[in-house]
């Protein structure tokens, strides 16, 4: 078990290094006019040159990358080129907002999709048809379009929820929850139906297995077969869907946050990339990838716990 986790972690570190370098490599091409952009139009040629040396822009790709990586290893992600705010601090104030939206959404999706998917698989009939039709709608409308629709209808027309929110998490919980309702709803509507469909087909596949028939022949109740045996065997398929959705959400939430003016990582990501704020971009990418690696590790661990065959190897 310990070696399993260590191996996965080692692989994660390699992935992290590869992605960091790749991102740095891409950004290297964008750094031509950065110093000028930071100083503004009226700065002199000398000032620009001095700034370039200060930021290390005069150096080649590899030395620059290794300098950055060396600092990053000690936990120092540098400071933003434009605001001079330390990158780590900027990220730590934004991350809770983004993670709250994403985690709350994925929990809702997991619960609702499992319930719907199992109901559709076991009862078939109208529930099944409803889930399938809803899945088409869920797939057809991107989460940000759904967010726009929700804002227009519930916030602007009906005025039931705040349209935008600059409320921070620590300012009164009621207002905070209200401001989260619509963003989470938009993400959940988009994700829940396709997850439900995947769980449905995984459950149906398990229900058709021979061992289910044998369990029935032994006098085990339908309920126990469903919740103990079938759900457990169908879980890895569901977890895979949820983890992919989670990764997708980390990106998708960028647009959602813009729509609701939520002070999360999204705004930071958009600003830093449009301006070419390399330390900040690297910070955003690094944090996102670390989250993804942690999520994938968790999924691997749960799958190993669920499936004895994986556990052995």
């Amino acid at each position: 078990m310990v070696t399993f986790i260590l191996r996965k972690l080692a692989a994660g570190v390699v992935v992290l290094a590869a992605i960091s370098f790749l991102t740095y490599f891409l950004l290297y091409f964008s750094s031509a006019n950065i110093a000028r952009n930071i100083l503004g139009e009226f700065a002199s040629q000398e000032q620009v040159a001095a700034k370039e040396i200060e930021l290390g822009l005069d150096q080649a790709l590899l030395p620059r990358f290794f300098a950055w990586a060396g600092h990053a290893l000690t936990g120092d992600l540098g400071t933003s080129w434009f605001t001079s705010e330390p990158v780590a601090r900027a990220l730590m104030t934004r991350l809770p907002v983004t993670l709250t939206v994403v985690i709350v959404s994925i929990i809702f999706i997991a619960i609702i999709a499992t319930a719907l998917g199992m109901a559709a698989a076991v009862k078939r009939g109208w529930i099944d048809k409803a889930v399938q039709s809803a899945a088409v709608i869920g797939d057809a409308i991107p989460s940000f379009v759904m967010a726009i629709i929700l804002v227009t209808v519930f916030a602007i027309q009906l005025k039931l929820f705040p349209a935008t929110s600059s409320i921070s998490p620590d300012s009164g919980s009621a207002a905070w929850i209200a401001s989260l309702a619509l963003p989470v709803l938009a993400i959940v509507i988009n994700g829940v139906t396709s997850a439900a469909q995947q769980i449905r087909s995984a459950v149906i596949k398990q229900l058709e297995k021979d061992y289910v028939r044998t369990l029935r022949s032994r006098g085990i109740s339908e309920r126990e077969i469903l919740f103990k045996h079938v759900l457990r065997s169908a879980a890895p398929a569901g977890l895979t869907v949820l983890s992919l959705q989670f990764i997708g959400m980390l990106g998708g939430v960028v647009i959602i946050e813009q729509i609701f003016a939520l002070p999360g990582m999204g705004a930071l990501a958009v600003q830093s990339t449009t301006m070419g704020d390399i330390p900040l971009v690297m910070g955003v990418v690094l944090y996102t990838v670390v989250i993804v690696i942690i999520v994938n590790l968790l999924v691997d661990l749960i799958n190993g716990w669920l499936n004895p065959k994986v556990r052995v190897s």
């Binding site: 992935v15 379009v145 029935r216 006098g219 085990i220 998708g252």
Partner: protein
Amino acid sequence: MSEIEVLADQSDVGQKGTVVRSHVIKKILKNPMGLIAVGILTLVVLLAILANVLAPFDPNFANIGKTLANPDSTNLLGTDSVGRDVWSRLVFGARTTLLSALLCAAVAVGIGLPAGLIAGYYAGKFDGVANWVVNILMALPGIIVLLTVRAAFGPSVWISMVAFGILLSPGYFRLTRTAVQSVRNELYVDAARVAGLSDASIIARHIFSVVRAPIIIQTAIVCGVAISIQSGLEFLGLGDPTVATWGVMLSEGFKNVYLNPTLLLWPALAIGLTIGALVLLGNAVRDALEDAEKIKPAKRGSVAALNSRTAPGRTQNEAVAAGTEHHLVKVSHLGVGYPQADGSVKKVVDDVSFHVDRGEVLGIVGESGSGKSQTAFSILGLLPEAARIVGGSIQFDGKYTVAPTDDSVSQSRLSEFRGKRISYIPQEPMSNLDPAFTIGHQLVTPMVRVLKISKSEAKKRALKLLDDVGIRFPEKTFNAYPHEVSGGMAQRVLIAGAISCEPDLIIADEPTTALDVTVQADVLDLIRDLQKSLNVGVILVTHNFGVVADLCDRVAVMQDGRMVEEGDVREILRNPQDPYTQKLLGSMLEGKEPMTMLVSAGASAGGADNEKEAGL
């Protein structure tokens, strides 16, 4: 250019694949959802192609004097905040959107498909490296990467879409690789290798045809995702401001949502409808292909769709059918059928009657499709959901589990017997144990539930049972998972499970068919010993007359859902009356002169008549 054209293209690839493929297209168009999808996509494609003709204005032409106007005869859908014509922008937006979606899909297919083919077919190092790259790509949140790419290369729709195509290529890679791996070891690919076909021809001829359909479905989905992401980026204002796209229109509408919400309506509708049509098309293709595949198991399970008008069984065993005497299990004139799409009922069991008493072994013999397993499952109440009882009754110990008027097995009445007084030994040992639980757990739980005993007592009994069925280290097996034991051992475990609740009747469905001959002999010995010592009734379903001779007291022979003969085992095996029984016994190899013809006099074509011409 839409999916329709892609489909049409595909149909011309394999010269002989055409027949099937055109069926698929027909099926898609017959499916109302498929038709709607194709209709919407055709419309969007036409809009995009004819944009120059259909749009009265240049998409960027701004009439400053007429902003946020309501629809009128010049501006069909009104104007936006700087006076640009909404209809014109919508039409040109269709072009950008479709082209970018196609570019993204093309890049994704172009990378994912060949890589998947190579990795799946040759495996080895390339496979390892490719998988590693794929794992990295799949760990990347799309929009963050696209933002980075934009920072590096500037606001170009096309570069973003190429980058996004690369990000989506793992989907195709995995799809192709899995499909190829499943086909690579198919026997027909081996046959092609033996024939000397080159790898390229094998891939083109046998393997590509397998991934074609999933690729089309995946492409529909990918195009949808690409449109959604592309609109999202444009919405964020990260696109090229000079290009009219639905995303830019959304963003523009959202800024003016308090002034004119209809500006939001049109691009949102366009995006929703286009992606929705793609999703529907993907579903329609999948349904059409699944339909085509469904024919296979029907033919395979085989044979002779009896329709409900068939005459009653040839042989009636009066003593069984008419009697009112008490038996452990009594099946009278049982009929089982499956309702068909056209309203008829396909009968798989027709007018079958027999009985079994305690301490007695009845063999039900027949070939595949004879209805022998269906008969056994009716007694257990474990028929597939679609099955209907179309006639007759089943009594267990005097109580009806299928009353003469029932059209299905009464689960509530049966639940008082099943697992308690009736138990089941399945055919495939491995697939009948839940791989996620230990063998001990799977033995203990039913005992706790059925016999209402404590867990520790159940464990004690389970260990004793494992010892009884001849497992040498019961404790070790008790703690093992199913994949850790051999097939023969797993079958012993299942037999232990079947006798754990001290049943009166055991129904064994081909209990030794999946085992090696020497293991089969051991398991037959075990069943015989247990049957004697527990004095249970056994219904043994088998195709093997040797197994019948080894275990059974009486035997019933079934053909095409009917019972053709029933009686004492020596009677039937030595002196069969029915021509079908005679033919079956005549096909046995035991005691035949080697190297002689078994059924045909010598003409090679003669055999054709002896075989059921299913499906022809």
